[in-house]
């Protein structure tokens, strides 16, 4: 065999020996533009294979056809780190017999490597690949930048199929995943819709409340004692988090602070920080926008890292262990600082941990930015509907009505008080939120478990119940 290219997806699946009851895996770098998961599952369904476990690093609305495969028992179990609203709602309604297993972006590669969640066949969407399977996310019409989440699948699955819409002559330059792991290569017309893969640009919020919170978050970092040469930082891609990154950049430039690295899902704002000297390098497990993709392709200081390198708790060390500050979001925070990013206010699944609890566990300062209430729903509550990240890993909650510091961080609290920042007790925030919105009627929970939330170390953190039909 002078190369691994097979004539069709079907042939590749047949060659892998995939059978009913096995596990297939997918990465989510093509996000809501991904065609590959649907195309593979449709082919598998046509072949009459059933009772599969799908292990995907994340699932988006574009993957709604999975619902049909669930109904037809082609798919009977799902393992993932994140699930957006369309699938989440159906799962919450109770369409699966076996509960979904939610892991974190660090827990997933850890469990794969430890053999807790073995993968029979990994299907790896590749924006560029050669005939032997060397592949990369940086080049081609479907470029997505980093392929970080695909590494553990490629390195540990029994069979690995690379699917590309950009087959290049051997050897592909600047490959990310090497041919040594790849069994078969399949070419298709398109692996995804570029509009859904990356945002053109990610934008900071224009909402005044978001800006006020972002300003405060930047001030917390400034006065935390951590903002000095060698500083490392990660932030989510939410509007207020990005605004905080921008304000932080202004502070770092003004005070001439040279940080060490920025990590995580990377946006254009982090690229700006790299280029303007705020960081020595970026450690990129996933690119969120075109600017990040362009940067990882052209700037050697913008480095691709695998999911394990990013966040695995069983790796000898991971990037999150060296992180100074992380800014995270929340759909709910409770007075014990537990954070929910899995379910919405009606109890439906609409997210997942992603790297939330990994970075919170690793970073010296884990900060949540969240408004006191969204529309009419209080965000700070007595008890979150689902614990995605335990409160012991959260240090600070920034809201528009003040900053709450976890009682375990007495020294940090004093620093922030001395800096004149508005520090309040988290119970006060809870009361204020409820006084403003009125006390909500508690939502009805069903009696069936539809998902298990597994912490990064493999222990069960919480369960999610079904939402009963009205």
């Amino acid at each position: 065999m002078n190369n691994k290219v097979v004539s069709s997806l079907r042939e590749a699946i047949e060659l892998t020996g995939l059978k009913s009851g096995m596990t297939v895996s997918f990465h989510h770098h093509l996000r809501n533009g991904d065609y590959v998961l649907n195309m593979v599952m449709a082919e598998i369904a046509r072949m009459g294979i059933r009772d599969l476990t799908v292990n995907a690093s994340s699932l988006f609305d574009i993957h709604a056809p999975l619902l049909q495969h669930i109904e037809n028992h082609v798919v009977t179990k799902i393992q993932t780190d994140y699930m957006s609203g369309v699938l989440g709602k159906a799962i919450s309604r109770g369409i699966m017999e076996t509960p979904v297993e939610f892991r974190t972006h660090g827990g997933r590669p850890s469990d794969i490597e430890l053999g807790r969640t073995p993968i029979d066949v990994a299907f790896i969407a590749a924006p560029a690949a050669d005939g032997m399977g060397n592949c990369s996310g940086k080049y081609g019409k479907s470029a997505c930048g980093s392929l970080g989440y695909a590494y553990p699948d490629a390195m540990n699955a029994k069979k690995v199929v690379v699917i590309t819409d950009n087959l290049v002559p051997y050897p592909l330059l600047d490959w990310s995943i090497p041919e040594t792991y790849v069994d078969y290569v399949v070419t298709v017309d398109a692996i995804g819709d570029p509009n859904g893969i990356v945002s053109g640009t990610t934008k900071i919020t224009r909402d005044p409340v978001g800006l006020v919170m972002a300003d405060r978050a930047a001030q917390v970092i400034r006065h935390s004692g951590l903002l000095k040469d060698g500083f490392s930082f990660q932030t989510g891609a939410g509007g207020a988090s990005l605004a905080a990154a921008k304000f932080l950049k202004d502070i770092m430039l003004k005070e001439n602070i040279h940080g060490s690295f920025g990590s995580g899902g990377i946006t254009g704002y982090m690229v700006d920080m790299l280029n303007e000297g705020c960081f020595q390098s970026l450690m990129d497990v996933q690119c969120f926008d075109l600017k990040a993709v362009e940067s990882i392709r052209t700037n050697p200081r913008h480095q691709e890292i695998s999911a394990s390198h990013y966040a695995s708790p069983s790796a000898r060390s991971a990037v999150v262990d060296s992180l100074d500050v992380v800014i995270l979001g929340a759909t709910e925070v409770d007075t014990d600082f537990n954070v929910n990013v899995h379910t919405d206010s009606n109890g439906y699944i609409m997210g997942g941990s992603g790297g939330h609890s990994d970075t919170a566990a690793g970073a010296r300062l884990s900060m949540i930015i969240a408004p006191l209430f969204r529309a009419r729903l209080p965000i700070v509550t007595d008890r979150v509907n689902c614990i995605s990240t335990p409160g012991r890993d959260i240090d600070v909650l920034v809201t528009q009505a003040g900053i709450a510091v976890n009682p375990k961080d007495a020294e940090l609290r004093q620093r922030l008080v001395d800096a004149g920042l508005p520090i309040v007790d988290i119970h006060e925030l809870k009361e204020l939120a409820e006084r403003t919105t009125g006390a909500p009627t508690h939502i009805a929970k069903g009696d069936r478990v539809v998902a298990n939330v597994i912490y990064r170390d493999g222990t069960l953190l919480d369960t999610i119940r079904n939402v009963p039909a009205k």
Partner: protein, 294 residues
Amino acid sequence: MRRSMLFIPGNTPNLLINGAYLGADALIFDLEDAVSPDEKDSARNLVRNTMKYMDLRRCEVIVRINSIDTDYWKKDLDAIMPQKPHLIMLPKSGCAQDILTADAYMTEVEQRLGWEKNTVRLMPLIETALGVENAFAIASASPRVAAIFLGAEDLTADLRCKRTKGGNEIDYARGRMVVAARAANVDVYDTPFTDVNDDEGIRVDAEYAKSLGFTGKASISPRHVGVINEVFSPSQKDIDYAYEVMEAIRLAHEQGRGAIALHGKMIDAPIVARAQQTIAMAEEMGVGKAADHE
């Protein structure tokens, strides 16, 4: 203490209910320029209910009503005054008569409510060439006037000049406003700095306004509020000096001395008044004497 005043559009629930969290000493709920003519009734109801039912924390409330050449201003006052705003802002104030017209109707509403006259004070917005020339007459037209406020956007249009970041074109108006306000013994507020993304520009502009004698400054962006508060707050040095002045007076009284000197300088009534004002602000800000921190 009113260092910063933040404009909040009167028909936008999300901003009205969050206004009190944005750090400003005072909120200006705007029924005028921020509200289209066919939504005036809606905004009026929204602002009234917000004032009535929302906990606005420590924020003062100022309502910018529509100008007296419209059909809206009396309805605005009818709806808003019962909620006891700290101030009513009267736009396009051009001469003393404008103030007297508004004053007369406010008195009528106060009588209807069984309130004392001048329960709700007035802050004329001066934003025309005529208004600037009449600034002292406006500021002293009625004891109801508590402050005057410069609006540079409309003013520069009236002056037929360009509004610039440096603001040379409004130098005369700024100077004249401060002099008029101080002569009439009322407060005086500076126009907003309109480039919401220029973090340095707002500081320069606010410091300049303070150096001219303005009491405080309005803003259209919550992001500017922090800088305005900072610039218009007394410094620790000012605060310490104010306490020294008061201590010197106490000692002089004890010893039955008339003339009081501090660091070889005579302390007269204006210095005492200023010291009292500074201490009042410091107390409201929760800042004490430097020694209290040690």
